[in-house]
């Protein structure tokens, strides 16, 4: 047993990286669910984002364009979900599941020519002075831009939902779509926009895996991250701050359990492997013991005639 070989600074730095993909995807889904739509296609949109981002980054040599394309790809796929559920009034659960299966298949097809290729490297944002601060520097100020983008997004979504009129309208649509409709809000339009936003965020999360965290393209590479993001939204009681906390706990415990194994800690590996899921759920369930609950119209179909 050798705790000394675990470097807490490197550990915390890795935590930020491990948490970012699920954080981005979960934030997008949070907005979607706050608008009263349950999109189970996060995994599908993530993997589409992963391949779109990868393909564009490889072909243009620019990771930035890759991330833009990933957001576009994810949004485009989510548009399919929006058409099915908002206009054809299809069942949201079934459509979401279909979206995941479709996304996985389509990404495998798109990715045929990209196996074994290396993407252009994404530079780390080495902030000159802040990055040199001992301990805090490597943890907080030596990451790629997407990590900060994710943190900024948490703040932006929290503020938007809490303080702005747009956030209030979005929540109204999610809580009671009939009342929102009666007040003259365009329920379908608002929901489509929320779905597109969710798709774009999931796409960015996927591209973070294929361009930065792994970085390469392999079929099925998101390996369930989308489902974890979905669960995170529920356990975080649809609150942006708790999504961040959940993503950090999940990412942190994932990285920590690998480090504990490598350090030869005498805890059975089976317990270590399940610990990220257990601890994240436990913490968030305890926190959600307050009055928070799901948006009242979540998953219900809206039609203006009803």
């Amino acid at each position: 047993m050798d705790f000394g070989s675990i470097n807490p600074v490197l550990l915390l730095a890795s935590l930020m990286v491990a948490a970012t993909p699920i954080l981005l995807a979960a934030l997008g889904e949070l907005v979607v669910e706050r608008a009263g739509v349950l999109n189970l296609g996060v995994e599908g949109m993530m993997i589409i984002g992963a391949i779109c981002g990868f393909a564009v980054a490889v072909n243009t040599g620019s990771p930035v364009l890759g991330f833009v394309a990933a957001a576009g790809g994810g949004a485009l796929l989510s548009l399919l979900f929006a058409l099915l559920t908002q206009f054809a009034l299809a069942n949201q659960v079934a459509s979401g599941l279909a979206l995941t299966l479709f996304g996985l298949g389509l990404s495998a097809l798109l990715g045929q020519g990209y196996v074994g290729i290396k993407p252009p490297p994404v530079g780390k944002l080495d902030i000159p002075l802040l990055g040199d601060i001992p301990v805090l520097g490597p943890i907080l100020f030596s990451h790629d831009l997407m990590v900060y983008f994710g943190l900024g997004l948490v703040l932006a979504i929290w503020a938007m939902l809490k303080y702005t009129r747009a956030g209030l309208v979005l929540r109204a649509v999610g809580e009671n779509h009939d009342a929102a409709h009666a007040l003259g809000y365009k329920v379908v339009r608002i929901r489509v926009l929320a779905i597109l936003f969710g798709g774009a965020c999931a796409g960015l999360g996927g591209a973070y895996i294929s361009l930065i965290r792994v970085p390469q393209w392999t079929e099925g590479m998101t390996a369930g991250a989308g489902w974890i993001a979905l669960a995170l939204v529920v356990f975080a009681s649809w609150k942006a701050g708790r999504v961040l906390l959940g993503a950090w706990i999940f990412g942190g415990v994932t990285v920590l359990q690998l480090n504990l194994q490598a350090a030869g800690i005498a805890i059975p590996v089976e317990y270590l492997s399940m610990s990220p899921y257990l601890i994240t759920i436990l913490v968030l369930v305890i926190m959600s013991a307050d009055r928070s609950r799901a948006p009242a119209s979540l998953g219900r179909i809206f039609h203006a005639s009803q």
């Binding site: 070989s5 675990i6 470097n7 490197l10 550990l11 890795s14 491990a18 993909p21 495998a108 990715g111 045929q112 196996v115 074994g116 290729i117 290396k118 895996i209 965290r213 792994v214 970085p215 390469q216 392999t218 079929e219 099925g220 590479m221 998101t222 390996a223 991250a225 994932t254 990285v255 690998l258 480090n259 194994q261 490598a262 350090a263 030869g264 005498a266 059975p268 590996v269 089976e270 492997s273």
Partner: protein
């Protein structure tokens, strides 16, 4: 029970009917544990499948299913393939052992081949490669090349095949570098690029400058490349796109000759249930080009070891060897028998940590 029997009989009848209709073509099925684009294990099995197609042309039809989970769901996938009229089905992962055995019992006229397992039936053969011979060569290079004396090992599941690989690599690393230490992470997956990358990063952060992997994706290679000055080995496939650094060599599985021979046997009606276990000598295990990052002297030693393993003059498990608990395993000059190797469930002396159950 009656219903199951009835269904099984109907299924067999259906299978026979389809076989009869397509008698001129032999249908060969493959069940894969990962996607064919994983760049490792499944990729090589699929290359074997393509070689069967290329060799037999129109006389053969192949079908495959990717990313089939190990366990109960595999039984459904294998049954489906048998119902579709496959004459010969290769199930290419250890976790398909019980499902394959169960389906083989229901379809006595279909031939089954299970990779890396040990259970057989009159219509179920097993085949595997002696990957541990390749691991010995890797261990030798790893022991010589490491500067931190820490070798990281990303293991998948605690099954004999993986444990054999760890032991073989460790024995040969230790032989050339007495100070070497292995850090082992059990990933509990064959294929999860993000998790494999995290595992590699964790090992590198703890000082490992050599990463060995028994998982199927190239993610650990990419993680090592980012870290600089860390060397890796291709697993199952050459992974040559990461040469000369970090990938300095590889173990390549070459299934094509075996798949072609077994398909031929089904065509000639000479197929028998056998247990094939071939290594470097028979060409089932290949050692990928040792890259320029390895000094000439070490490369020559590694190639000499490979040659000795191929012609049988050396064996990766040659005594004196002790088990992890200090008890004697092999006496001086004694080599391990296949039975012990196939069921290997212990570390050799010197490896720290426990094998998960």
């Amino acid at each position: 029970m009656n219903l199951t029997k009835l269904l099984a009989t109907a299924a067999v009848a259906l299978g026979l009917a389809t076989t009869a209709m397509a008698q001129d073509k032999t249908k060969v099925g493959f069940i894969y544990v990962g996607p064919i684009g994983d760049g490792g294990w499944t990729y090589e099995h699929n290359k074997g499948r393509l070689a069967v197609e290329a060799h037999f042309g129109d006389k053969v039809e192949t079908v495959y299913q990717e990313s089939v989970p190990e366990g109960a769901d595999a039984e459904r996938a294998i049954t489906q393939m048998a119902l579709q009229g496959a004459d010969l089905i290769f199930t290419t992962s250890f976790g398909y052992m019980e499902p394959t055995l169960a389906v083989a019992g229901k379809f006595p006229n279909v031939k089954f081949e299970h990779a890396t397992g040990f259970k057989t039936a009159p219509n179920l053969a097993t085949y595997s490669a002696r990957f541990y011979e390749g691991r010995a060569v890797q261990g030798h290079i790893a022991g010589k090349m490491t500067k931190s004396n820490i070798v990281g090992y990303i293991a998948s599941f605690p099954i004999p095949e993986v444990i054999r690989g760890i032991n073989s690599a460790y024995i040969h690393a230790k032989k050339v570098n007495p100070d070497v230490e292995f850090k082992i992470i059990w990933a509990y997956t064959w294929f999860d690029p993000a998790k494999e990358a995290d595992a590699a990063t964790a090992l590198i952060e703890q000082g490992a400058d050599v990463i060995l992997q028994h998982t199927d994706s190239t993610a650990p290679q990419a993680a090592a490349e980012k870290a600089d000055n860390v060397i890796t080995f291709g697993q199952a496939s050459d992974m040559g796109e990461y040469a000369p650094m970090p990938r300095v060599s590889s173990i390549i599985d070459n299934w094509a000759p075996y798949y072609i021979a077994r398909t031929q046997a089904v065509m000639d009606d000479t197929w028998e249930s056998v247990q094939t276990w071939d290594g470097i000598g028979a060409g089932m295990v290949g050692i990928g080009e040792i890259s320029s990052a390895v000094p000439e002297a070490i490369k020559a030693e590694a190639l000499a070891l490979k040659a000795a393993l191929a012609d049988g003059s050396d064996h990766p498990f040659t005594g004196p060897l002790k088990k992890q608990d200090g008890s004697d395993w092999l006496g001086d000059g004694e080599t391990a028998d296949d039975g012990t190797l196939l069921g290997m469930n212990f570390y050799v002396e010197g490896i720290t940590g426990d094998i998960p159950n």
